[in-house]
């Protein structure tokens, strides 16, 4: 795992559910076929109502036009990020679109577990609200060693909650890698 992750911010509101992250009608594509799986990137966050997509102004699609990758690598959410269905396609779709880290006030349990155990994106919790401090398009830098978020666009730095118990799984890159490292599985 790299220690520093840089990227542009994409800012969202509270209660971003998995139907908004990847609508149910798209859950049918292969997750392994290299061409087909790109569709997950294309449709990532496609059901977020446009006025709430890319705050504070809104009306910014996460993935533009026919692209399968987003220009934004760091997602800033509010509370209860990833609520709703258990679909692992959700953090997967964000990863396929190029997202590396999510920073939210809180997460729904299954989405959080899926992000960690599948090694898709790093789900950081912030102290308090961040989606009113960061604007979509801001250049951010995240330090995974120091647990900090720096907004290069305005020079401010914020602390993030340490990953705690799940850090070894995040560091290993997922639950299988973790279990192998610890000789739980061959």
């Amino acid at each position: 795992m790299e220690n520093i992750i840089k990227g542009k911010a994409f800012v969202l509101g509270n209660n971003i559910d998995t139907d908004q992250i990847i609508p149910a009608e798209h859950l049918v594509y292969s997750l392994t076929d290299p061409e087909e799986k790109k569709k997950y990137g294309h449709y990532a966050l496609s059901a977020v109502p446009l006025p709430q997509s890319g705050l504070p102004g809104g009306n910014i699609p996460f993935v533009k036009g026919d692209n399968c990758e987003s220009e934004f690598q760091i997602i800033i959410g509010g509370s209860n990020f990833g609520c709703g269905s258990s679909r692992e396609h959700a953090p997967f779709a964000l990863q396929v679109a190029g997202a590396k880290v999510i920073i939210a006030e809180s997460y729904a349990r299954i989405f959080y577990r899926n992000s960690v155990d599948g090694g898709f994106v790093v789900p950081y919790e912030s102290f308090g609200k961040m989606n009113d401090k960061i604007k979509t398009g801001d250049n951010l830098e995240i330090n995974l060693k120091e647990n900090t978020l720096s907004n290069l666009s305005d020079g401010k730095t914020y602390e993030l909650k340490p990953l705690g118990d799940v850090l070894p799984i995040v560091e290993a890159g997922g639950i299988f890698e973790y279990a192998r490292k610890n000789s739980m599985i061959a």
């Binding site: 139907d19 729904a108 299988f176």
Partner: protein, 431 residues
């Protein structure tokens, strides 16, 4: 310090005397359930990770129900079912319930109960967020993603953080105009969609234990809408009777200690509650039916794992008997057993199914159907600016199909009352 029922079950499943909230523990899993949406990617991950020698840890503990995208021409959706079919054949799996055969069951959470997989004291994981439904049987059950499921598939184990418990007590006798759906929507409005995140929701009180098993499942089903890890109701004589009718498998009944510690406790007097809805676009956007009555509807929907059980259709049929609906009304029995019972059970000598037909409802085949939108040819799917009242569990934007549609969640009584008038209607005006 005593333990809650959830803590006791988790302690037992992790081979410990006791566990405390916040601890990460490894559990031995009794049942793993998957379906056509998450099964294929789970199998793929399991194959990739365990390689050629991949073994299902225990075939008898794996249960697979195709149920989500079943009756559709969508080629990708059909490919998913084909993958499950092949997997079941390759590994000679005893608990695969294939569509198009007499074994087909319908929605997984209802089928788990009906096929005898829900057993008090056991630990059930499923690749579906509403796996918490099974907690109605005094067991620990929760949803996981594909990677976690693939890990269980190969090892029979998974880590979990022991949840804090919240207790919801419903005292009094439930009035005839209320159902379990009103109770859980009441809670959702009070604690919101993240009010129980990473916690266990324990339901208790006279009004809860008066409920039939299917109605209890409506409470535990929507624990996930509150963000809950699991919902749970202690097993009683009704639970045991339901289980024993279906299986001889052993089980163990756990109860919360008097001095168990709860993160919070909520107490309700059901005689003081009113019929409620969840307004668009969130299950916690509660309002009384009175506050939205008169809202014009374009569709009514009775179905899903939370609102498509025989009890739901009994409530609805009582109101629709001898009358006609004013807006397109879709009836989707949650399971084939429910569909069969709808043909057998009668009111005044008329089967529930006939009552719905005579009332002008459209009856679909058992499956998830429009509960989650699905491919464009899905039965009952919302289109364009539909305004729907539904017994399902989620009304997020686009959940039932169209992003522009508005969905109200309500009890089967409220939905049936509204179907008769074409506008949102309080069941007390019809009963």
């Amino acid at each position: 310090m005593g333990m809650t029922i959830t803590e006791k079950i988790l302690a037992n499943a992790s081979g410990r005397d006791r566990v405390s909230p916040g601890e990460n523990i490894w559990l031995n899993v009794d049942v793993l359930m998957t379906h056509d949406v998450c099964g294929p990617p789970t199998i793929q991950i399991w194959k990739n990770e365990f390689g050629k020698e991949a073994k299902v840890w225990d075939k008898n503990k794996l249960v697979i129900f195709p149920d989500h995208y079943i009756f559709t021409a969508d080629k990708y959706a059909n490919r998913n079912v084909e993958i499950l079919r092949q997997f079941a054949a390759d590994y000679d799996l005893p608990n695969y319930y294939d569509v198009g055969t007499p074994r087909y069951k319908g929605v997984c959470h209802i089928a788990l109960a009906e096929e005898g997989y829900n057993l008090p004291g056991k630990v059930l994981f499923g690749t579906d967020s509403h796996t918490c439904t099974s907690g109605a049987f005094g067991m620990f059950s929760t949803g996981v993603g594909n990677t976690d499921a693939a890990f269980i598939l190969g090892t029979g184990k998974i880590w979990e953080k022991v949840p804090e418990s919240m207790k919801f007590t419903f005292n009094g006798k439930l009035p005839e105009y209320l159902t379990a759906k009103d109770l859980i929507l009441q809670i959702l409005g009070d604690i919101t969609t993240d009010g129980a995140t990473y916690r266990a929701m324990e339901f208790d009180g006279e009004a809860v234990f008066d409920l039939e098993m299917y109605e209890r499942m409506t409470l535990t089903n929507m624990a996930i809408e509150c963000g809950g890890m699991n919902g749970i109701i202690e097993a009683d004589a009704k639970t045991e009777a339901f289980v024993k009718e279906r299986t001889n498998a052993p089980y163990e009944i756990y109860r919360s200690d008097e001095d168990a510690k709860y993160q919070s406790k909520y107490v309700y007097d059901v005689t003081k509650l009113e019929p409620v809805v969840a307004k668009p676009h969130s299950p916690d956007n509660r309002g009384t039916v009175r506050s939205v009555e008169g809202t014009k509807l374009t569709k009514c929907y009775i179905g899903s794992c939370t609102g498509g059980k025989i009890t739901d259709f009994r409530f609805a049929a009582k109101l629709l008997l001898g009358k006609e609906v004013k807006v397109p009304t879709f009836i989707v029995p949650g399971s084939t057993a429910v569909a069969k019972q709808m043909e057998e059970e009668t009111i005044n000598g008329i089967s529930l199914k006939e009552i719905f037909k005579n009332a002008g409802c459209e009856i679909g085949e058992s499956s998830c159907a429009a509960c989650l939108g699905g491919p464009s040819d899905t039965f009952g799917r919302s289109v364009d600016k539909d305004v729907v009242i539904s017994t399902t569990n989620r009304n997020f934007p686009g959940r039932m199909g169209s992003k522009k549609s508005e969905v109200y969640l309500a009890s089967p009584l409220t939905v049936a009352s509204s179907a008769l008038t074409g506008v949102i209607t309080d069941p007390r005006d019809v009963l």
